[in-house]
């Protein structure tokens, strides 16, 4: 187990370096980092040259990357366009997005798996068809349309929720945004669980469990569900990273000042430090989530052992 984790951590290093280098290059090559620093006007050449020297932008890109990464490992993510430290932005943005992601993942786990089990056990019945059609609708309507509609209905017309989330973004205000963020994945989790349950339902071990006279509840939760969860856990695990990165749309609709908000500002203003810094953290989250998923396999299925 320990050796497996170490090997995986070592494998993560080239991926981490590659992904951060990639986003670094994308932001630097595709845009001019100085352009955003003079506000909406264009910089005059002398100021631009001075800024370039100041930020080390006159050096070759690989050298800039090395300097940047060196700084990152000492905990210095640079400064954002408004002079704030990127680490400061992170310390306010990440807690908000993490809360939002937690709400979304909870929706996926609780609602998604429950619906998947219910439909998987009743394949072909009206409940199954209804949920299946519903998931297709949720998947095909773009998230921002769902978000704007829910905001209009619940927030503006019926006043059940506040149409925009306050700066502190407590859990209570994040329920509807979390649902919007989770919606597409929720539909996928439902469908995955349904397929997996329906496939395993006819497995020998389920028949054995029933033949032993176990109560139906125990057969479903302990035997059927546990064996059917592996693809679902994989999906939810890889989704955590995607949710945090994809929160950009949800955060914009509900005016949540989290990671997505900062990234949106950073990208539009071509602020290399903010974009690369936040994406670096997102890549790390993604890699760690994937590792945790693989370790969870062994918990769900004792046959899987990591030497």
């Amino acid at each position: 187990m320990g050796r497996y984790v170490i090997r995986r951590l070592l494998q993560m290093i080239p991926v981490f370096v590659g992904a951060t280098l990639l986003i670094f290059l994308m932001v630097n090559v595709m845009g001019d980092p100085v352009a955003g620093l003079c506000g909406d006007k264009e910089c005059d050449p002398a100021t631009a040259a001075q800024l370039r020297r100041e930020f080390g932008l006159d050096k070759p890109v690989w050298q800039q990357y090395l300097t940047y990464m060196g700084n990152v490992f000492t905990g210095d993510f640079g400064t954002a366009f408004n002079g704030q430290k990127v680490t400061e932005l992170m310390s306010t943005a990440f807690p908000v997005t993490i809360r939002l992601t937690v709400v979304a993942v909870l929706f996926e786990i609780v609602v998604g798996i429950a619906l998947g089990v219910v439909t998987g056990l009743r394949r072909g019945r009206p409940v199954d068809t209804a949920v299946l059609v519903l998931t297709l609708v949720v998947i095909s309507v773009p998230t921002f349309v769902t978000g704007l509609l829910l905001q209009l209905l619940l927030g503006v017309q019926w006043s059940w929720i506040r149409p925009s989330v306050s700066a502190e973004a407590p859990f209570g205000e994040l329920i509807v945004p979390g649902l919007v963020l989770a919606s597409v994945s929720l539909a996928y989790v439902t469908r995955l669980t349904r397929t997996s349950i329906a496939e395993n339902r006819r497995a020998d071990y389920v028949r054995t469990a029933i033949a032993k006279g176990l109560p139906r509840r125990r057969v479903v939760t302990r035997h059927l569900l546990r064996n059917s969860l592996i693809p679902v856990v994989t999906f939810i695990g890889t989704d955590v990273g995607a949710l945090m990165g994809g929160a950009i749309v949800t955060e914009r609709i509900f005016n949540i000042h989290g990671v997505g908000f900062q990234l949106y500002q950073g990208i539009l203003r071509q602020n290399t430090q903010t974009v690369v810094g936040f994406v670096t953290v997102l890549v790390l989250v993604f890699l760690v989530a994937n590792l945790l998923v693989d370790l969870l396999y062994a918990v769900l299925d004792p046959r899987i052992r990591y030497a």
Partner: protein, 310 residues
């Protein structure tokens, strides 16, 4: 659906598989022939295929559906609400905040969305498929390198990468959007293809071809590819719909296509959602139906190809 039959038969890879049974007696149908029999009787497939053909006609000849100009601004029609009695006329679905016909724009937006979806899928499938096939078939260090590179591209959030790319272009044409979506989008195809090729390359017929002294490219393109391509086609069909949705999302974030597109119209409509919901509603419906059609088609094909689902 003549469109679809010709499409499959034109594809050299599929054609070998589809035409093969014609030479032999009827009963031994290939995987593809079998799937085709299954699909013809599947209403989900028929409905989604008919919808897609209709959308393709709409994209190619928008003039058949409306004679109004989508860019015609007439402020006397400012936020004029729909006139549901006037079927298929310019004022049927009302006018937007610049006095443009919502109906005409919904029809004319089809082309941009379908081109972005189809173009991205084509690039992603060719490139991702090639990478996946090479790393799956040759294994070893090549696989190690290609898989790690795939992981790197996969690690960057898709939407963010596309935003960074698109932000540096002021003139965002269809090609630019396709490039931005394909840049990070190919990883999924590569992974699916790699997995599929690894399973296929151990098959007896591949070993037999090798033993007979067939060249690598012949084994790859005549034996491995036709048998490994099924899951890739399924992923491609489904992701075509996903890319259309992604383009709309980018438009919503202010980084989409320039010109008439559903994404831009939904985004415009979103700004007026509290006064005139219909502006956002109709392009959203068109977009959702299109995405749905491709997802349903992909799933119907998957079920037809997967014997476990029978």
């Amino acid at each position: 659906m003549p469109e679809l039959t010709t499409k499959t038969a034109d594809d050299p890879v599929v054609a070998t598989a589809v035409n093969a049974p014609a030479a032999k007696p009827e009963k031994t149908r290939s995987m593809w022939g079998d799937a085709w029999q299954d699909l013809r009787g599947n209403w989900v497939f028929v409905v989604s295929a008919v919808l897609i053909v209709l959308l393709i006609v709409m994209a190619a000849f928008p003039g058949l559906f409306t004679n109004a100009d989508p860019n015609d601004k007439d402020l006397t029609h400012y936020l004029q609400h729909p006139n549901y009695g006037h079927f298929f006329s310019a004022d049927w679905l009302g006018y937007d905040g610049q006095g443009r016909s919502v109906y005409a724009r919904a029809i004319h937006g089809t082309r941009a969305s379908l081109l972005v979806g189809a173009g991205t899928t084509l690039v992603v499938t060719l490139f991702g498929g090639l990478i996946g096939m090479l790393s799956g078939y040759f294994g070893g260090w090549l696989d190690a390198v290609l898989s790690r590179v795939t992981d790197m591209f996969f690690g960057i959030p898709f939407l963010l990468g596309a935003m960074v790319m698109l932000n540096s272009f002021t003139d965002r044409t269809i090609w630019v959007v396709i490039g931005a979506l394909a840049f990070l989008g190919w990883t999924q195809t590569a992974r699916v293809m790699r997995g599929s090729v690894i399973t296929i390359k151990q098959a007896d017929y591949v070993q037999a071809a090798k033993a007979l002294g067939a060249g690598t490219s012949r084994i790859l393109f005549r034996h491995v590819l036709p048998n490994a391509v099924a899951p890739v086609i399924v992923v491609a069909t489904i992701s075509l719909g996903v890319y259309i949705g992604a383009e709309a999302t980018l438009s919503f974030l202010g980084l989409g296509l320039n010109g008439v597109s559903w994404g831009n119209d939904i985004s415009d409509g979103g700004n007026q959602i509290r006064v005139a919901q219909y502006i956002m509603l109709y392009p959203s419906i068109m977009l959702s139906i299109t995405v749905l059609a491709f997802i349903m088609l992909g799933e119907a094909v998957r079920n037809a190809l997967d014997p476990k689902m029978r």
